[in-house]
């Protein structure tokens, strides 16, 4: 039996790992996927969260949400489904309890912002503008939205334009817009977000999926449908990062199934300026730092001085 233990920190390297994501300076290209790392504290026994390129917090809304009924997860081949439903205790709780702790460990902080209406996004950002501990926002536009008729607003150019425009007006901090992969043409949505003022894009959020227990004839999730993540979705994520990064001029944060440094390098070659480790944290709570170290290994092995030289360096 191997026991995960000890707070891992990245090893020293001569490689310049720093990247700049639309004004967000990261010491290395590795952040976490929102919702898989809470606000970092739960993982601080395993990795020094202050050493990550950034900590991206769980999606936060104005007054908090209850989320969906359990069961909320199901395992699928090389992946998992979740229907957490953006459970969160609200932005005030984040500001009171989590942000000061993140600041105390020296973390670079990206707050993932959710809302059920366009106005709610703005309200959350306005509250957070009062905190000195926030370095960037990530707008999770894959929420069912009342202003968009209950539809997922991340799927329509009009609603994407609207919510990004409003969020942009509310802050001068770096604004990352997180795209859903459940669309016909990711480049169309990417361009809309850029045009509306996004400083960067992040993708992919989860793919909609479903799992069934044949013996019991029942869905495995109480909500029936959930979001697919993990290595299974990596090919789709890589393709979308490649397409989106070629369609826009702002940087892209790549995610979707990243478990190893080789995965991270693949996303950077495809055009990502930074990457996020999500589901892999559940598999190995030290995955983030292992990915950072592995990127350094890769650069050293290939004689690359700065990790940013990998961005979009795919030969094809």
């Amino acid at each position: 039996m191997t026991e995960a233990s000890g707070r891992r920190v990245p090893r020293p390297t001569a490689v310049d790992l720093s990247v700049n994501v639309g004004g967000l300076r990261m010491a290395n290209p590795v952040t976490v996927a929102s919702g898989t790392f809470a606000a970092g504290r739960e993982y601080h026994d395993f990795v020094d969260v202050g050493t990550l390129g950034a900590v991206t917090t769980k999606g936060v809304s104005r007054h908090g949400w209850e989320g969906n009924a359990a069961p909320r997860i199901a395992e699928t081949p090389c992946g998992m489904l979740n229907s957490i439903g953006l459970q969160n205790p609200g932005v005030d709780h984040l500001m009171a309890d989590e942000l000061p702790w993140l600041a105390s460990v020296g973390a670079t902080v990206v707050v993932n912002v959710s809302g059920h209406s366009f106005g709610e996004y703005v309200e959350v950002i306005e509250r957070l503008e009062d905190s000195p501990h926030v370095h960037a926002y990530e707008l999770n536009i894959s929420c069912p939205n009342v202003d968009a008729g209950g539809m997922n607003m991340g799927c329509q150019v009009a609603s994407v334009t609207e919510v990004v425009t409003r969020a942009r007006a509310a802050t001068a901090r770096p604004l990352i817009v997180k795209l859903t992969p459940n669309v016909t043409d990711i480049t169309e949505i990417a361009r809309a977000a850029e045009a509306a003022g996004a400083d960067a894009l992040s993708l992919i959020n989860t793919l909609l999926g479903m799992a069934i227990d044949a013996e019991r004839r029942r869905p495995l999730l109480a909500r029936v449908v959930g979001g697919l993540s993990g290595p299974a979705v990596k090919p789709v994520a890589l393709r979308m990062v490649w397409e989106a990064s070629r369609a826009v001029n702002v940087p892209v944060v790549g995610m979707g199934g990243i478990s190893t440094a080789a995965d991270a390098v693949e996303f950077m070659l495809a055009g990502a300026s930074a990457v996020a480790v999500g589901t892999a944290n559940f598999v190995d709570p030290q995955a983030t730092v292992k990915v950072i170290d592995g990127i350094a290994d890769y650069c050293e092995r290939h004689g690359i001085d700065a990790a940013r030289d990998l961005i979009g360096a795919l030969e094809c």
């Binding site: 039996m1 026991e3 995960a4 809470a38 359990a70 909320r72 997860i73 998992m80 957490i84 459970q87």
Partner: protein
């Protein structure tokens, strides 16, 4: 299954669990939560008692010790039984407990029974299983308690026939443990319907009750919110706020 896991084996408190993963199960990403049945602090080993449910447990059943398969574990995780921190009978007074284990739920209660007995408290144990051969913990409990646990099997092949809730009701109606002192608490682990019935009976007889809940878990560290339990105070995480909950806190 016996595993070598010094950190888990030494740190484990009764009611806590370990979150295990088998790297050779490539397509299956998630760790599986298992209670610790017995722990040998000196040897740094522990045993896990498991029931065949799906692919993970089927994989476990096929592991051959000879091949010294690797298991990755996070642990110990979670909130222990509150009785685990009870001072010894000499210091804080002697208390009586009713422990109810349904099926493989008998496992996580064993460390608690051990702890309570060693601290001089009175422990009554009720075990339920589908059939005699599934009462795998019975002898160990008998050795520990110095007398047979109360047993029921669904098919009547050992002890009382039917659900073990009948035996629990008998004990609770009696109002006191076998040695005559009133129960300080009931501790239950087993299928949810069983826990619910026992919790109801305990409340009806005004005995405090704790339950150990099972939820599917992704992270096992409190970060992902996959394992929530409904409580009057909102959703709580079975992995770190539980798995042991006061029965009154649980909205079934």
């Amino acid at each position: 299954m016996e595993v070598e896991a010094p950190i888990c084996a030494r740190g484990i408190e009764p009611g806590q669990f370990v979150h295990m993963r088998f790297p050779d199960m490539g397509a299956h990403l998630l760790r599986r939560p298992f209670s610790v049945y017995t722990a040998d602090r000196e040897a740094g080993t522990m045993t896990v008692l498991y029931q065949l449910v799906g692919e993970g447990t089927a994989f476990m059943a096929e592991l051959r010790p000879a091949a010294s398969p690797t298991v990755e574990a996070i642990g110990p995780v979670g909130r222990a039984w509150s009785a685990a921190v009870l001072p010894s009978a000499d210091e804080g007074g002697r208390k009586s407990f009713l422990l109810v284990g349904g099926g493989v739920g008998a496992a996580p209660l064993h460390l608690l029974a051990e702890r309570l007995v060693s601290r001089g408290h009175a422990v009554d144990v009720v075990l339920g299983a589908q059939t005699a051969s599934a009462l795998v913990t019975r002898e160990r409990y008998e050795a520990l308690l110095g007398r047979a646990p109360f047993c029921a099997t669904d098919d009547g092949t050992f002890g009382a026939r039917g659900f073990c809730t009948g035996l629990v009701s008998e004990r609770l109606d009696a109002g006191c443990s076998v040695d005559g002192s009133p129960y300080a608490q009931v501790c239950v682990c087993g299928p949810e319907p069983l826990m619910r019935i026992v919790a109801d009976r305990a409340r009806a007889t005004s005995v405090p009750c704790e339950v150990s809940l099972e939820r599917r878990m992704a992270c096992g560290v409190g970060a992902c919110l996959s394992c929530v339990v409904d409580t009057p105070a909102g959703k709580r995480r079975a992995c770190v706020d539980g798995p042991v909950f006061d029965a009154q806190e649980v909205i079934w």
